[in-house]
Amino acid sequence: MSSTETFLAPVAAATGSHIRIHNLSKMFDQRPVLQNLNLEIGPGEFVAVVGKSGCGKSTLLRLLAGLETPCQGDIHLNGYPLRGINTLARVMFQDPRLLPWRNVLQNVALGLGQQGRSRSHWALQQVGLDHRARDWPTILSGGQKQRVALARALVTQPRLLLLDEPLGALDALTRLEMQHLIEQLWQEQRFTSLLVTHDVEEAVTLADRVLVIHQGTIDLDIPINLPRPRDLTQTELAVLKQRILQRILSR
């Protein structure tokens, strides 16, 4: 297969998931992590969740993925209640979690049937790694591994992308590249995105809306209506970032 061949998007773009969370609570061994949380996310919206470590932001993401079950309250996706693993969603974790015994292409094609190959080539092309399709993941750099993980998340064109600090372990330059890539693919495919991050700067550059979580509830919910691609030297962005940071630190 020649590397110059282009692969078309397998299906026409659909809209992102609509999420409604009502009175959601989660406890671990009597210790409350989320308390009566209410949240609505529109289709195709990019929401970033920030907060101190242990505030419950990762738990919120895991509940949306169906990896945890709520103790109270419910989550509705496109009007249907979520039960078990969320099949509409794909998750990108902090570590790439690639299978070392499968090559890059086979990793992207995980769980896909017959059409897996050409779709996976398409997804790898989106992240600029189709020329590494036959390599073992072990020999890729950290940034490349996360790009493969992104391709694996997007290969089925999910309606909801859950990002659990996916860029936290990358160096600053690679992180900027990945941010651009995620933003660009989101603009093309319009899936709903939830990004959990400890990096306020990352949150304000990428998201339509930033949530601050404190002691298991939403403490601050501010929209960011600035044109993209955003530039951190913009005054409005710097002001927003400062406001969010102060809110987190004052608590």
Partner: protein
């Protein structure tokens, strides 16, 4: 990019055409020294016959068909015992590794039996099975069961739980999870168990065949001892070394086939 695992301080060793011969250098030198000492009369041939005498014995026994007969019966016993014990070890390792209730039920009992040296069972095994092939096969099976069991069990338990969680989120069925994540992830450890088990397989067979048998390499050696045929005894010992090396090469071949992705296989 990782090219070849080499310790940097030793510098780069160029790959030479005679690299394949280097492992044979030490055995070959020993053989020559042994031959010279035996020829010079420095070693009594009753203690250790010259390599040429051993080679003569090998030739004699090969042409009479005796060697092939003993070799075949030994290999057959080893293979049957290995398949039974290895199969059971793999089965219990997988079941206990995957299902917690099974582990609770069976693991501590298996650990208790594992700590009994299986050769200590010989008197009891003879009482149970007599001195036929069943006894020897039982001992081999018992010996290989535990290294395969332990390494399969821990191989499965050592898989990164993050990978299994990822598989669940990516919609894999329990069957797909097992065949695409759990089984390939535990293979490097299973192969370590296999290598141990093959060593134990030969060891057990030697002991079992020298104690009570009417055929096999071990019998051949014990029989030769009665007639003071030191050359045949040495030949039997060398045969075990050769068979052990063959088994090890088979595992290496499986490693190249099954775990080519593993860092131990020098990715390029």
């Amino acid at each position: 990019m990782i090219s070849r695992l080499s310790i940097p301080t030793l510098g780069r060793w160029p790959r030479l055409p005679w690299d394949r011969l280097i492992p044979w250098l030490v055995p070959l030198t020993l053989l020559i020294v042994w031959q010279l000492l035996a020829q010079g009369g420095l070693i009594n041939s009753r203690v250790l016959p010259a390599p040429t005498a051993v080679a003569e014995a090998a030739l004699r026994l090969t042409t009479s068909g005796e060697l092939l007969k003993h070799l075949t019966i030994s290999t057959w016993r080893a293979a049957v015992g290995f398949l039974i014990g290895g199969g059971l070890g793999l089965f219990f390792g997988v079941v206990n590794g995957v299902f917690r209730p099974a582990e609770l039920l069976a693991d501590s009992s298996i650990q208790m039996i594992r700590n009994i040296p299986h050769l200590a069972m010989i008197p009891l095994v003879i009482l149970w099975f007599g001195i036929g092939d069943q006894a020897r096969i039982f001992l081999v099976a018992l010996g290989v069961l535990f290294p395969i069991y332990v390494n399969t069990f821990y191989g499965i338990r050592a898989i990164d739980p993050g990978l299994i969680e990822m598989g669940q989120v990516y919609g894999l069925s329990p069957r797909q999870l097992f065949f695409q994540i759990i089984l390939p992830g535990s293979l490097p450890s299973v192969l370590v168990g296999l290598r141990y088990a093959l060593g134990i397989m030969w060891l057990t067979l030697i002991v079992a065949e020298t104690i009570a048998a009417g055929s096999g390499i071990g019998y051949m050696a014990m029989n030769a001892r009665e007639f003071m045929q030191t050359d045949v005894v040495v030949l039997a010992i060398l045969l075990y070394a050769l068979l052990g090396k063959l088994a090890d090469s088979a595992v290496r071949w499986l490693e190249r086939l099954w775990i080519a992705w593993h860092p131990s296989q020098n990715l390029s």
